[in-house]
Subunit: 368 residues, 2 copies
């Protein structure tokens, strides 16, 4: 999973010279209140606010027209009521009801008072679930985007943070070796499908779980997974995994937590590794439900390692990852799987859909 | 925790020449049936069997008079009914009702048909909860014991597998650094007290939990722990740990599992490590109770690593560990804490007592 601390991004500029400049309306998505549990449409609102499309001289502001924004499950954790546990654990800035929501995106520079950027530049960085953003380069980790002649959306998915999550989780945290038996949950999701593709390229046996027969077919027929199964059709996940891994699991890339994690631990080989990228089934749990029930006796006897990570700790390998992955795409060894909605007003449904398994691959919203 | 696969150790020799040799009775402890849950006295029996005190020529047998045997919580896992989950996970040979129970011990050679050992040698290796054992050197990992002028019992505790568990867990799995804030559960136990002592020598802030005020006093007054608390007197372990670790936990050395583990994870710092040496509170759980409830969202956001280990994987560092630790003892920097019962018939109560917190330090039974 990825997140990073970008504080105090100013979305809107006040007009300081008494409405001398042309103003327009900027639409954006906000939460009405903190969300604990499953998100629903009524938790969100489409708001708008006046926006001046020119950067104020001396401000170093950059005005961006957002083209594509990412939609990821981890955002729900930023929408929760801040608890002491959150406060101690989280490196993510929480989302304030009524204000614009920061998110990774690809945008076009409309105007810039920062000399490193100029009108027409295509950039990537932290923008908002909004039509326009006014940002500062450093706070938004803004970079000119070298598209490498790939579609812009690739830079939010297979060549972006989703891809880097898969890459780092598998190679750096999981230390995957040729011949390893790898299990991936949420395998048709933004990160999961890439974990499977990377693992196959690395000579592994790869099985994925997903929530529909359509997704299972995609994994097996288009993405090269050795096996895949629809978890909604299994009575006993532990037995299912024993069936698909008669010789045990070496690496479990976990995106979901709970029962799937418990079943994977029961099927792990000695010295097996659990790479914890996310835990979507825990993100929306009720406050009273406890966490994933891990058999610590198994953890000891099988010397299992369980490790969480955040992709934002690995930006130093981003360029390596990107050039390697671009090569795989060009040679047809990897495929991008994307699921694109259109329009700022459709962001809430796109986001809510993540928790119902509606997306296949990377969920992106096209804004312009 | 430690365990190793020693199969087919022969405890008794048949007299093959028609009772030509002097026989005596060898007393040993066996389980009457598999034990699932808390062990009680009636689960065990004191048995005896005829024993010939001379090794049969050509057999390579070594006849041992056992002097001290180890009593450790992990043995309960070997006494359980074999389940498929056990079978896949365990490297420990299971204990068969009615037969002698293998265990680490210190013994004296009574007779030997192995040229590498002779009568009077003091040895360490896998013997039995019995007065005598007949073993083969390789199968029992038998080694002549260089006492280094320390009491024999030290070689089962502070200079033996308990010490190596603490050492490897803290330094190899935990990668402890000077200044780390370290929490140890079962801190007055065989491994826990040594973890705390090693961590203090390494310049850490160390807090231990134990089950009585007497144990707490020992930790703080004799063993140099910065703080210790009686977990039986705490209402909310999470708050207790927050009180003792206002700046968070860097390393949690877990010997118990369950609520203590859950509370520790809630109090861990980013990049914190959980070293899973044992899970005594899970060893005796009912089959229906699930494992420790881990907050996987914390695991991800705090990039926590949880890793189980078995000391038997680290015998290559045993000599290094031993000479270093011997130096600490000689210079008064480390202390051995031992709890010794006497007599083979007292082994069951010594063992059962482990699960009620009766022992302080390494539990050993003196046999001769």
């Amino acid at each position: 999973m990825w997140t990073k601390n970008f504080s105090s991004i100013r979305l809107f500029l006040k007009s300081e010279q008494g409405h001398m400049e042309e103003e327009m309306k900027n639409s954006f998505i906000a939460i009405k209140h903190h969300i604990n549990g499953f998100p629903v449409e009524s938790d969100f609102e489409l708001k708008s606010q006046p926006l001046r499309l020119s950067a104020h001289p001396g401000s170093t502001d950059i005005v961006l027209k957002n083209l594509f924004v990412s939609v990821d499950p981890y955002q729900i954790n930023r929408m929760k009521t801040l608890s002491p546990s959150h406060a101690s654990s989280s490196v993510t800035p929480f989302i304030t009801p009524g204000l614009a929501i920061s998110v990774h995106g690809v945008a076009e520079v409309v105007d810039s008072d920062d000399s490193k950027f100029e009108k027409g530049d295509i950039v990537e960085g932290i923008v908002h679930w909004a039509q326009y953003s006014v940002v500062k380069a450093g706070e938004s980790a803004l970079m000119k985007l070298d598209t490498l002649e790939f579609p812009l959306t690739y830079h939010l998915g297979i060549l972006g943070m989703s891809g880097l999550s898969a890459y780092v989780g598998l190679f750096d945290i999981g230390r995957v070796k040729e011949g390893d038996k790898v299990f991936v949950s949420a395998a048709s999701g933004s990160v999961g499908n890439l974990v499977g593709q990377f693992a196959k390229l690395h000579g592994c046996y790869v099985v994925g779980s997903a929530g529909s027969d359509q997704k299972v077919a995609l994994l097996k027929e288009k993405l090269g997974f050795d096996e895949a199964f629809n978890y909604n059709q299994q009575k006993d996940l532990k037995s299912t995994l024993t069936k698909y891994f008669p010789n045990g699991i070496d690496i479990y890339f976990d995106n979901v937590g709970y029962e799937m994690l418990e079943a994977a631990v029961a099927n792990m080989n000695p010295f097996g590794k659990v790479v914890v990228c996310g835990a979507i089934s825990e993100y929306t749990k009720s406050m009273s439900r406890k966490g994933s029930a891990l058999n610590m006796v198994d953890i000891v006897y099988k010397r299992i390692k369980i490790q969480g990570f955040l992709v934002s700790d690995y930006l130093n390998v981003f360029q390596d990852f990107k050039s390697k992955t671009a090569g795989y795409i060009r040679s047809g060894k990897m495929k991008a799987v994307e699921d694109i909605s259109v329009g700022v007003h459709n962001i809430p449904s796109a986001f809510i859909g993540l928790f119902h398994g509606n997306n296949i691959g990377k969920k992106i919203v096209k804004l312009a």
